[in-house]
Symmetry: C4
Subunit: 209 residues, 4 copies
């Protein structure tokens, strides 16, 4: 508890405000920077037909933008839900959170690789890269949970059943993304399918936890 | 109410702080990134006359910048006004808000298309693209209203007349932007006129609501 | 006071929190985006001497970066000081603040023009552009003051003498920047000198107000 | 104490909220902009082998990204820890903080120079540039400490022993980075080694302070 050793805080006060605000900044910027990938097209002939065709031809960028945005949004919702249960901050939590935030900002990178290479012979490598990044993110979320869900850090009013559900769900992440990573060289689509199924699971369980 | 099921909150406390801070981040960044489009001109001859002429020749960028900025500002004001009436947060509200934020970050993209193509034969497609994006935004605002303006979410002190005015105004959005979208292939200027009139309406009614 | 008409607030509560957070976001991003102009140089020959020379040759970018950063910082300090005196928010204040924020994001643009063209024949136009943007900013600050410093908006504890000092100082801005704008075609250095003197004045009086 | 001279604050209230939020914005954006340097590679032949090789060949970018991210993260943790002890804000603190924030946004620039030039004959200049920037940052942190750790600014509950540890550690920064700067022309690796050892020290002592 070095972090608070210098001053006595009223015991009911939440200390995580600034950590949450800083994390929100990183999430918000990571989501907003995605739009820099979208560009007004400049077709060779300037006509409505050519402009519409050029706009439509950019669909992989749109898929990549929407996927990255919702991926980071789901991660933000989980971050939000976790920190509603936490009251204290220490160095370990700050660094675990920082490691997760670093990976949050990286998300658009493998997503763009998928959008660009899924229909090419490089699909196995692109899918392995994608699954690998989310394997790292699953580990980062689990490390965050280990740092946050200690008795000294939690809000005493947090329900035990809910915390147990969180632990169980987050323990599933690393082995399943590892399976997606191992599957990528053999079947890129299976790898991507596992990752997609997991996103639906995380979106759905954001509420359940 | 899964979101708060884990802990009992004092009944008068507002839960939306972090959602608002995160949304503010996205709005602020979307507005600030616009300025990246403005570049110092490099005329062929370096003279005051040439520099001024080059600066003036960039006027479509300025129109696009100012329009996008105020468009996002009006959307932020509406977001602000809505969330002053809301006290609770649940998964549905988080995802409705996320869908709106995604579209907020997209605003500069169709605006730049209008600035670039309004005086070309591609104007019908550019105006249809613009109206189409704002049709989606009107739907997103309406979905946000449906998620936010439920009895369990609202501040009990919020006035019923005001909430009714919000609902009525926001219901107008989708059909009117749809009309602008349908008008675009026939008359780009009519389409743009409907969209502009609606922005004046949203700016004016931000106060009335 | 439409803004608060829907609900009764305890009279002592500050309403400007979200407006300040949103403004902080715009200021912070405007200041941080400046760094995108700084690039690692790639000299033709790779040696310590060539690298150092290439780094040093970029000095106009550094001047522009430092000037823009402190310009926006001083504006942020003034914004901060103004809003410490304000308790209420209404539509007029939101739009006056939005107009100012738009101009805040523009600051790097004329600053880069000065850095690039001050030693060229285009200096009069570049200085006129610079003075013109800050003339607009001085007007925006004055409009913000008119919107913020009304009896219904101010914190009742704010000192009258201090508010009077603010009004007096902010009234000086527009005519002095207009003088700098008018001087630019005749003497770019005089124009820039007036603007620089004013920045020192704003930095110094941030405390006095 | 001009800053609060206009109004009487309850003596226990913390005034630094907005300063922290603004600083968080700058830190968050500085960290997130780093990711713009990471690009999906476009190998000449599109195969899994070529894509993987191209991805791996970008390793200096990854090292630069991770180093910059953790560097700024450690600086944010220190900023966070300092401001937990501070209760008042004045003009001097605002400007000392602004000077530090300016240098925070610059961090990616020398880090990229190291990543690019460490294995070239320009290594001495690149390492001197890196050590020079962190020499300036060490001075900025010390100036911030001088501005923040005055009796009139500190939370009266802050422990004296902790404040003394902060002072002692921060006094070490400038001379040690100066030594790294002086060592760079003779031994780039020694220079970089001193800087790296200092980062480990700052990360470790974030908790101890």
């Amino acid at each position: 508890m070095w972090f608070t050793s210098g001053m006595e805080k009223p015991s009911g006060e939440k200390e995580t405000g600034r950590l949450e605000a800083f994390s929100d900044g990183v999430f918000a910027i990571a989501m907003t920077l995605l739009v820099l990938e979208l560009k007004v097209p400049h077709p060779a002939t300037v006509s409505s037909r050519a402009f519409s065709a050029a706009l439509a031809a950019q669909w992989p960028s749109y898929v990549s933008f929407i996927t990255s945005f919702f991926t980071v949004l789901v991660m933000w919702v989980h971050h939000h839900v976790i920190f509603r249960l936490v009251k204290r901050v220490d160095a370990r939590l700050l660094f675990a959170n920082g490691f997760l935030l670093m990976l949050v900002t990286v998300v658009p990178f493998p997503t763009a690789a998928i959008a660009e290479y899924l229909k090419t012979p490089a699909a196995p490598a692109a899918c392995a890269f994608y699954a690998g990044v989310f394997f790292a993110i699953a580990i980062a979320f689990y490390l965050l949970l280990l740092a946050a869900f200690r008795d000294s850090m939690l809000d005493p009013r947090a329900s035990h059943a809910r915390i147990a559900r969180f632990r169980r769900n987050y323990r599933l992440g690393p082995p399943l993304y590892l399976a997606a990573l191992i599957a990528a060289p053999f079947s890129p689509l299976l790898s991507l399918g596992i990752c997609t199924a997991l996103w639906i699971f995380w979106a759905a369980t954001a509420g359940e936890c």
